[in-house]
Subunit: 174 residues, 8 copies
């Protein structure tokens, strides 16, 4: 039984939110993945969303680009928390997807994340922060994740101080 | 039996596309109106769209603001031509609605019109241009509409020539 | 003990998210409100965010306009789920606030809602959807809210069918 | 005698809407193609548009980038349904073309599609949905197209379930 | 015989470019005005543009909002210099008109001015700067216009110095 | 002898940056004001900027809307720190002014502030933060300003806690 | 003695407007080129602009990217017609340059062209259209240019008709 | 003891503002560099900012992309002048970062620079212009920098005049 359901409008979005899956795994959160379009497979999308709670899903992550109706359509068929991840497009780098996901009308919320890679990672982390309210081991993994992030930055500052900016930049590119 | 089905995401959109209804009436095109949200009443929207062809509907006009998923969601449930009308919003005057309607993914088209009043009028005229392909009396009303538009502009030029721009502007404001 | 903490960057934002408070009350969710700026009172903001979990807060709603750093700054000091509500501004109707809230870097998520009134309402509903995972009575109120929304639309369609669009629009304006 | 007329502002747009031609062929819809600019060859454009109905054309598809006046100019010279396809440009990925095509004034509608490849495909599908109103075999091909789209997604889900996301992404890139 | 031809897409634009006419009069430049739409009266627009040079017109000013194809369509039918004035719209304050006028394809130039009142005034001044190349009295009026502009600013600085900013602002509003 | 020079492109901008003058006065910083346009009075602008350092000016604040070239033109004629304040316009609420001020080429910096009222206030505060580096009494006033800002927010929280959000909003509007 | 003066903010812009020079040469219009920045070499820019009319220059073309103040600054120092060419930048493909050039305040006009290559070509053609008012041989070259443009399109249509779209696209890429 | 403190939200920003460091070195200004995120290491950021003045820092440069809260967060913890450098992102080339840095609320100013390379260089030059108010040798280096910039342009004009535009462009690319 999966705690998080991830739905993607296209299989080409899978690689764009790879960090999402990796972070869920890091936090030991079970998840299921489905490719289903709001427009091309509306019935599949509706049934998947409407039955998610009964399957034990607690949080849904919906990934879509362009008109990006998927997160809103999913949210219309469930009262579970739905997190929307816009995919970068050619219109101003994803402004179309961002606005389509964030501008949901009063009544049916979607939690919008950043466009692209950061959005995929943060969707997972936000799902984990919700699950952490009722799951201590989940909360510990999340705390651990933050700690490691901070430690990485410490390590970078040490290297930068030792090497100076010139060598650091060179190494970065080497 | 109505030839055109008009679906609006909110009853507050009715007054914004009044010209749509008036032009359909001018062209003697029968139509039905329903208020139904893609998100707040997804089942009603789905059933209305999926059964439209069987009810004799030939063209659908879908009006929505903000995330404006309605035209796309309707198009997912029918192969009838769907015309989308964005409603002006506070985000750059409706840029969110425009992009959400126009940026449909390959496979499920929506015909996007201008935001606001012009879009409502043009949705009706575009529906009429489709119906005109199979209905001569409809085509005659459309031709008549264009002729009257051109005549109104002739009348304005005559008035402008007679009065000069100063008096014309004053009259316009009076 | 409050379940939801609402933090606003300015007291002038209170009236803009009134629906947020009303929906939380409708769902019998206890909440606390604080006015605190990310920039003008950074210490108060930090302490409020860092101690929120210990006070029993489960979900945070952060409301801000312009540069709108508040939701991100709050999220930096807690692992609780943080929902961000952009306030409409003069820059393209709030595009600055929207982008500043949604474009959080990988690692520290904020759940971005729509700009303005819809965002305030949806922040409350999204918080309730999270609380519903662990609180049955909360979930029932949320289901009830959705049901009432759909019923209101039914009522509007009945009125529209009875009156016709012309009288409905007039009544709407009367 | 062609049922659909496709007009492109530049021969460099041909490859950008290749899917348009392929879908028309898939649906057994005859079409003619002309390269003609609204600005560089205005007379040719006008005559082509004004005579389209007499040549038996039922639907027009006009493709243009930048200022993208072509669909509007064509629509001014015919009452046939005109579908406009914006071409991606460097200004925010085609925002200039999108706005120029969608923001037609009341009276002369153009049906705007998405920018780029998706727009080309959808223009063809939208034209087919119009022709389907009076042509049963056309309607059958359209239904078949949708069915195949859905089946492709089913196949992808099966592969994804079998392989897991890691291998699926690798294969995708391999 | 008029030296400047002003064409407006709608009579509602007349008052928006009043300064255009006033400056032409100030510089003793004769002009004609016509209301003609690129889309609603394409034949009238074409004939007016194509015959402008023969009527003695030297510079054309074309005013339009929304899709704003008028300046480009006029430029397609003449080699006279065409100045385009975008009218402020609800889309980001006229961004649609601006982009549609400025983004002309290589081969057919239009000289784009600012949106709104400033654009109307500057279209006249730019036309006068062109006419000044071959007309000394015209050049003198233009030089005089610039001198008076600078003198007005001097007067304001004197008043500001005398009154202080507080009283100056009050007076400004009184 | 003034420490800060404020230059405005138009006298209509005076009221828009009133807070700028009030904060300079609060901090006991002497200032001079001039109305001078980059385009309409280029010589005056150039001489004012080029001679500012010799007059004892230490920081320049330049206020302008639309194309907003003034801050950049001033910066070209002095090595003093130049702060630019965009004025809100109809293009997306001042996006044109913001981009024109912030996008200075490498070599000649301008410090861009927010559009409108906040920008006027912050230009003064930023000027004061620069002067504070060499002037202790100036630094004390700046510290005092920040303290009072924080105290105002404390007062608001007390009132909010006493009254509840409903009465607070009512009072706010009363 | 040159008839057209071309000023560029940076030598890296030279290759971006190569078509500008080629078209001027095609039309036998003499021109001079200078690299001069509004901000880095303000004195050189001012003197070049202020003395242009005396050197016999009739039309000025100013090319600039980013804040793109150059055309406006040049126009402030001359009453000759000034044509502005925005250079494509990373901000939405040149939106910053476009707005900075087009949004000139009332009083000092600049004729804005499209961003990038098309803008360079059109600046030359617009300059030629101005010069054509007083120079018959210039007008003949402009008419010839338009004729050749149209002929090229005819040739492309012939090839397309002969080859079909599939082979035409292949050849295009081959 | 460093006079300028540079804080970057990510080590990947180091190479993007290399010019910043090089110009500070050219002007003999001592500086320290730290990598610290507003969100991932909020405590480190706060302490670094709050203690900067005591460490002798006079001006702070903060570099960040995406939501780009770093400059504002730093400014909240110090009264030193804070210069913000947006990093280019995929959203319209950095519009998100630009707006998030420039739209600071009244009370806590940040001096926003251009996005990307130019912004890094100008942040250094602006810091130097502040330090120059109290440090003559610093002022001399700044004056020298400007002089060399102008001389480089002179050299380019000489080359251009000698070679002609064709060869100059070729050399540029060679």
């Amino acid at each position: 039984m999966a705690a998080v359901g991830v739905i993607l409008g296209s299989d080409s979005d899978l690689s764009k939110v790879k960090e999402c899956f990796e972070i869920l795994e890091y936090c030991n959160v079970s998840f299921e993945i489905i490719i289903s379009s709001a427009h091309r497979t509306p019935e599949q999308t509706r049934q998947w969303a409407a039955s998610a709670a009964d399957r034990g899903i607690k949080v849904i992550i919906a990934v879509a680009g362009g008109a990006a109706h998927l997160p809103g359509v999913v949210a219309a068929h469930t009262t579970l928390p739905v997190i929307g991840v816009p995919v970068e497009t050619s219109i101003a780098g994803g402004l179309d997807s961002i606005l389509s996901i964030i501008q949901m009308p009063a009544g049916i919320p979607v939690a919008a994340m950043a466009a692209g890679k950061a959005g995929g990672a943060n969707a997972a982390l936000f799902a984990v922060s919700i699950l952490s309210l009722g799951d201590k081991s989940c909360a510990e993994r999340l705390a651990q994740y933050r700690k490691e992030m901070a430690e990485k930055i410490s390590g970078r500052n040490e290297a930068l101080n030792k090497m100076g900016y010139r060598d650091y930049i060179k190494r970065d590119r080497g």
